[in-house]
Amino acid sequence: MSAVLEMAAPVLDTRPALLRAEGLSLSYGSVRALDDVSIDVQPGEVLGVVGESGSGKSTLLRCLNLEEVPEAGAYSLDLPEAPGNLFALPRYERRMLAARRIGIVYQNPHRGLLMKHSSSGNVAERLLVAGERRFAVLREKAGDALAASEFPLDRMDAPPVELSGGMQQRVQLAKAIALEPAVLLLDEPTTGLDVSVQALVLDTLVRLQAERGITMVVVSHDLGVIRTLADRVVVMRHGQVVERGLVDQVLGDPQHPYSQALVQAKL
């Protein structure tokens, strides 16, 4: 029988947020894509972002991947090599930091992969950015990342263009985790895959998160994906965060009229 539970005070999370974005605002012409959006993510936590198309969730992810710099707002990662507001870094430093410490999986593999290069080469590209030049090491590490993403290693030299959608997502995932990123960004990682493949990709993500404690931000319009992966969730609409909370709370007892409509629309 287990030991008697000590009546000590519960241990709370006093660590600083690993990722903090504050007051992000960005317009495309007259469209307000992000309107004063703030989020924070604890180390090892998975934050979900939900909302319908056009709510600004993918724009938010592009800002977190340092592909876009918003008109206003600050973004910091609690890493020694990333001091201060990352949007204020010179463009080259921003890109290097993103390549080294931020992993991303796009909904469309064409955005994240060179479709006619080998899968292993796509993964190795990330390692080259980090300065690795030895062929044997590149190949071994690319193989490790592909294996961790549950990609069949006998296909590692096949170009993504010859692979199924689920396998292409695994190559993207391997590339994203090859350098052990501080944060992994997932943009609709299972959208467009058939349900059985969706389940496999989701399971890989759950397992990776559990084994490595990877901090993640996952954008999806699929509430089932969010419920499976995320601890907390923010609901976005018209570029604003309209509600935030624990996933089961936001899905089980949504407070904002828009969140209620979103949850009630789920099959």
């Binding site: 519960p10 989701l202 559990a210 909370g245 624990l246 209620q260």
Partner: protein, 231 residues
């Protein structure tokens, strides 16, 4: 000794925006639960018993009142989401009537997950022992629970939810759809946890299933007043 749970004037109502209405959930209610104590929630259908459990778990946001937890009286009604998430991983368990099966995850792996910090093999061993105790056929341990019968799924659910000792366990009709053997296994497991100091608050359609464990009963008479009656 301070109670594990000290609920003060807790009330919940639901605002349904598309109807423009507010629906009463329960309360206000006040009661305490000490370490190793088992409190049964009773009341007619719709009195808000399950809603009260979900509110303590913070699946529902409280409308009013306090849920003081632990010796320092951390108010779960107002605690930060990240702190609630952490407490759920380590101290506060919720046993429901339904398994949340994940596609392509085997029964034994699903059960082992809360103990994964012990290492994969140790966690799996614990999981198999629990599945054995609840009487799930060995042939099903490596299978995907999505295709199991209701009773089999519930065995997986209970094995997982009671795998680790918790300071507070919330029980929402966990004996529904269980056969006699699994019911007995659950009562055994709860008795062990209770003896080790776990505080429990439960809703049972057939309280007779857990009669030997009940210390006190808190009756929810709809949404009016609350009375506490000795068991």
């Amino acid at each position: 000794m301070s109670p594990v749970l000290d609920i003060r004037g807790l009330r919940k109502s639901f605002a349904l925006h598309h109807l423009g209405e507010t629906i009463a959930g329960f309360g206000p209610v006040s009661f305490t639960v000490g370490a190793g104590e088992f409190v049964l929630l009773s009341g007619p259908n719709g009195a808000g018993k399950s809603s009260l459990l979900r509110t303590i778990h913070r699946t529902y946001l409280p409308s009013e009142g306090a849920i003081l937890y632990g010796p320092d009286g951390l108010d779960l009604a107002r605690a930060a989401d990240v702190d609630i998430a952490r407490l759920r991983r380590t101290e506060i368990g919720f046993v429901t009537q339904f398994l949340q099966a994940r596609p392509r995850v085997s029964a034994e792996r699903l059960v082992a997950e809360p103990a994964r910090r012990d290492g994969d093999e140790a966690a799996l061993e614990k999981a198999r022992a629990a599945l054995d105790a609840f009487g799930l056929r060995r042939a099903l341990w490596g299978a995907y629970p999505a295709t199991f019968s209701g009773g089999e799924q519930q065995k997986v659910n209970l094995a997982r939810a009671t795998l680790l000792p918790r300071r507070l366990l919330l029980l929402d009709e966990p004996t529904a759809s269980l056969d006699a053997g699994a019911r007995a296994a659950l009562v055994d497991r709860l008795r062990d946890l209770k003896a080790a100091g776990t505080a429990m608050v439960g809703v049972f359609h057939h309280p007779g299933d857990v009669a030997a464990l009940i210390d006190r009963e808190v009756a929810l008479p709809g949404t009016e007043t609350l009375e506490e009656v000795p068991a």
